[in-house]
Amino acid sequence: MSQLFSKKNKEALTSPIGMNNPVTVQVLGICSALAVTAKLEPAIVMGLSVTVITAFSNVIISLLRHTIPNRIRIIVQLVVVAALVTIVSEILKAYAYDVSVQLSVYVGLIITNCILMGRLEAFAMTNAPWPSFLDGIGNGLGYALILIVVGFLRELLGSGAILGHSVIPQAFYDAGYLNNGLMLMPPMALIILACIIWWQRSRHKELQDK
């Protein structure tokens, strides 16, 4: 058991959530982070979907890593990811239809999410299945964390709600408070994301570009 969570494995799981976050440090997966975060619920579902797909595609590719011919490895990776994305997409349609409508094409576009291909190439191709699984979970959760923070702020300020429930009292609206319509537009997601990156890099000097 202690071997399962060795120091190296733990780092594979936790470093992508903080200091090596795929969104804020490696700046991957920005496109979907802007597109699905207008509300918190699709952001959570999207984050979980990417976590599941990254984890299992990492495991599968890691199991196949010795048998995949090097020259066609991208195609093999794409097939695995596409199969998993299709499964997740069908499950969403069956059990969470409203959310899957909100996410529309972005579930399908997980295939093109740079985080996935990046992890497959950088980690799963050279590591054993269990560390690859942890790495996939970690990167997926790192991505989900950013999506949830952005989605939370955008839904709170843009629609005055959290997970669809109004949280800003009616008295505020009566006193003249208005929801910020700009929060529902993609530019504001980019600015919130930039603020998170700004905050993280000003706290950690080692992340700053020279």
Binding site: G176, L178, N180, G181, L182, M183, M185, I191
Partner: protein
């Protein structure tokens, strides 16, 4: 004056290195150089020093804005009292000074909010970076209240000003480094974040009484001329041209309605050499040409049929051309580039007005769009100049 100087000299040591109030040195510095001309000069090399500095340029622009601001105050009162009288069907009793005072009281809080928020952020940032306070916000702070409708709530104005100063100015490096015009970013933020308070029919005329002045009239609405034209069903249903559109006695953003007051400001800016006549002229030419083309194009909307001179008088066209497009930081810097930059602003503004039903006014978006392209225009002008001169060298 002498007493003030002595007082400043007396408290100065407290703000210097090791002094008790050293943390507030940039605040002291800012006030001192605002009140008195700083007498520090460069210590190295030979420098030619002109009397004009950025502080004086800013002051001249603020002076040039005054006619439009004062007229805007009067117009706020005029619109309120005339619309209230028409709405309640009572005779108009208010005189000139009552109208002006009402408008003054309506506009003053916006000026205060814009300056307090904007300068507050400037002070904090200057303190944080350990730099001197920059004068850049003097003009932006005056422009911001002049380009919003009178019923725009103060707290949204405060948020928008803070957003614009932080994200359009300070993150780019402060005064002189911004890509976008700060006042227009404020307006764009308001326009997209709180559209119900920035457009439509209910925000252009104040409906409340202020300090006992004026009337509280619920449900009173008044559309701007461009608003009427953009929603008109028939192609000739645009408001007929009237001299009120030139003098400015029409509903609109606070400072933008009067062509005459803005032209007085333009004369001040051109006479003192602060703004470029090339930019200003080419904005008007661009607008006139494109509006003229739409007039003969046969597109069947009221906006396209509106005469070109009416297009130039209405909305923020004049204000944008005189005070926004000529902003020396965000506009093109090469002399040839200014013609292109100005022409495209005027052209884009009319194109947005006519072809985009969502935005009855296109000046804000046109200027912001061309702000992005100004460096590219400059680059092309400089490169073509280089290649022309290279050719001249190689033929000899």
């Amino acid at each position: 004056m002498k007493g003030l100087r002595n007082y400043l000299n007396k408290i100065k040591p407290r703000f210097e290195q090791g002094g008790r109030l050293h943390a507030f040195r940039s605040v002291f510095e800012g006030f001192e150089s605002f009140l008195f001309v700083p007498h520090t000069t460069a210590r190295t090399g030979t420098n030619i020093h002109d009397a004009i500095d950025s502080k004086r340029i800013m002051s001249l622009v603020v002076i040039a804005l005054l006619p439009a601001l004062l007229f805007g105050m009067y117009n706020v009162g005029y619109q309120h009292f005339t619309h209230a009288a028409a709405f309640t069907q009572t005779p108009l009793t208010a005189g000139f000074w009552e109208m002006f005072l009402y408008g003054f009281l309506a506009v003053l809080p916006k000026i205060v909010v814009s300056y307090v928020v904007g300068l507050g952020i400037e002070f904090v940032v200057a303190q944080w970076k350990g730099e001197e306070i920059q004068e850049g916000f003097l003009v932006s702070g005056m422009l911001i209240p002049m380009i919003v409708p009178v019923d725009c709530p103060l707290w949204t104005l405060a948020i928008a000003t803070a957003f614009a100063v932080i994200f359009a100015k300070e993150v780019f490096g402060g005064t002189g480094m911004n890509v976008f015009n700060v006042a227009l970013v404020t307006r764009a933020f308001l326009f997209f974040a709180y559209p119900t308070k920035m457009s439509g029919e209910s925000v252009w005329v104040s409906t409340d009484s202020i300090c006992g002045l004026g009337h509280t009239v619920d449900g009173m609405t008044a559309a701007t001329s461009l608003g009427i034209a953009s929603t008109a069903k028939a192609a000739d249903a645009y408001p007929a041209f009237s001299w009120d559109m030139v003098t400015g006695l029409i509903p609109g953003s606070i400072g933008e309605t009067s062509v005459i007051a803005i032209l007085i400001g333009a004369v001040i800016l051109l006479w003192t050499g602060v703004a470029s006549w090339r930019t200003m002229l080419s904005v008007f030419v661009g607008g006139a040409v494109v509006a003229g083309l739409f007039n003969v194009s046969g597109i069947d909307t009221a906006m396209a049929h509106m005469p070109w001179y009416e297009h130039l008088c209405l909305g923020g066209f004049c204000f944008g051309a005189v005070f926004m497009a000529t902003d020396p930081v965000t506009s093109a810097r090469t002399e040839t580039g200014k013609y292109v930059y100005g022409f495209l602003i005027g052209a884009m503004a009319i194109v947005i007005r006519v072809l985009n039903p969502g935005y009855p006014e296109g000046m804000m978006l046109a200027i912001l769009l061309m702000n992005v392209f100004a460096p590219l225009i400059d680059y092309c002008v400089v490169q073509s100049n280089i290649s022309r001169r290279m050719k001249r060298v190689s033929t000899k």
